[in-house]
Amino acid sequence: MDFNTVSDIVRLAWLAGASCFVIGLMRMNSPATARNGNLLSAGGMAVAIAATAILLFARPTADGSVNGTGWVIIVIGVLVGGGAGLYSARTVKMTAMPQLVSLFNAVGGGAAALIAIDDYLGLKAAPDPQINVATVLDIVIGSITFSGSLIASGKLQGLIAGKPIMIPAGRIVTVALAVVTVVGAIFLWAGNLSVPVMLIILAAALIFGVTMVLPIGGADMPVVISLLNSFTGTAVAMAGFVLGNDVLIIAGALVGASGAILTKLMADAMNRSVLNIMIGGFGGGEGTQTAVGAGGSVRAIGADDVAIQLAYAQNVIVVPGYGLAVAQAQHAVRELAELLEDRGVDVKYAIHPVAGRMPGHMNVLLAEANVPYPQLREMDDINPEFDRCDVALVVGANDVTNPAARRPGSPVSGMPILDVDHAKSIVVIKRSMGRGYAGIDNELYTNPKTGMLFADAKDGLAALTAAVKAL
């Protein structure tokens, strides 16, 4: 089979792969087909990569010989990178996934930048404008995502303080870096070939990524990661222009665009505008545990009393939060719920879009505990039902229930919350009067309707289950 036929087939294979990416993403829009969609996408990736290997192998080299070192590089790189990726992905804890995704995003952006850098170093003369533009853009965007995603990952992991870090004169620095980058880029686009300038741009972009993400609070990291993800897509598309390779262009642009939409969706779910987030938002990281009454007395309540309330309620709404995740109490809560249902109580779960530490965190946890999907209700669905709810059982949730969000002037102001305070009676399971992510007091706890069951979520629920059984 002559090389032309091979390369034709390879190109078709790339096209097929790209199509798999698209259809895969489509299927990932609904829970039922999501997993299969991801597998399809992975299949497409396998095809595209295999095809590439074949092309490179069949391709006649200048001196007809096979470039051994090239293959060695590829094999080693694949083994190392693949191993690292596989291991980390397999072993990461459920709650640590967002920062891992951010890490993968960083390396992806890095690879895209490296392609352009390598290409640029190899240049003898300034390439035609459009290539030149693509190359520089690839370097800039790729570097920003690389450093930015690493910071984001570090913040979620807790390696870097989650609360906004204000660099002295941060804004000025950031702006200055941006200016440097732009000027340098224009200089190169003007048709000058200069490696030093390229390196300056590279450095400026890398630092820019850091200064861009540092001032943003951990609470907004998921949105930031999604935005950087979209950046990486764009960088990869640029790399596609540099190498004149369609599949990179398609896949990159696909991620760039879909990532942008997704970022908006996520920001909307936290009721923030993307811009407003990038300029730096609330979310100071893990709540300080220092107990603060903040006026108004708190009514502590015992497991037995709660058990009776629950057992004789008509309908109960469970409000899970970050605490449930920390305590890994998802199974405990399901047990209690089933017990109550056997006694004819109607139990539902109120899922706030940003409860926990990643979007959909609660759904993921409860699904893991086999809580029937229909019992999980999105915020807008369930909020009106609190008025008719006998007992709202808040388990390790705080900010997402804080009525202060309805008033301006609080750090959570504007965030849509669960109308827990509309319930006839409220029970909150948490360890102390400790604060949540936003680091503010929650007047729900001082509400006369509210009883506080101070306990670790898991233990507290276990106690309740026992008490209900004992009735």
Partner: protein, 109 residues
């Protein structure tokens, strides 16, 4: 403008349009998996990295391409695996919440 560039541009624009169209009203549950899934897709940069690795002759580009290949592969492999792990959580349940909602109302009313 060279015809190659024109067609490349066409492809670029179309792909962007696909990207915009492909994400519709997604339940918040799927935001993170979707992000992670898209994140794996740009691992396609591995293809580009393989090209520069094969063409690498001087040490500099050999090192650069090695890192690029390793990075890209990590993106691909890790990305798909972690996404799959996230999605394993979803048991396929056809029941749409809304209908349940209504039946629930019935029961009450």
């Amino acid at each position: 403008m060279s015809p190659e560039l024109l067609s490349a541009l066409t492809v670029f624009v179309l792909a962007i349009l696909v990207g915009f169209a492909v994400i519709s009203k997604v339940p918040a549950t799927l935001h993170t998996p979707l992000m992670s899934g898209a994140n794996s897709i740009h691992g396609i940069v591995l293809v580009g990295s393989m090209f520069i690795a094969i063409e690498a002759t001087d040490l500099a580009s050999q090192l650069l391409s090695l890192v690029a290949v390793a990075f890209a592969t990590m993106n691909v492999v890790g990305g798909y695996v972690v996404t799959d792990r996230m999605l394993q959580m979803f048991k396929k349940k056809p029941v749409a919440p809304k209908t349940v909602d209504l039946t629930a109302e019935q029961a009450e009313g």
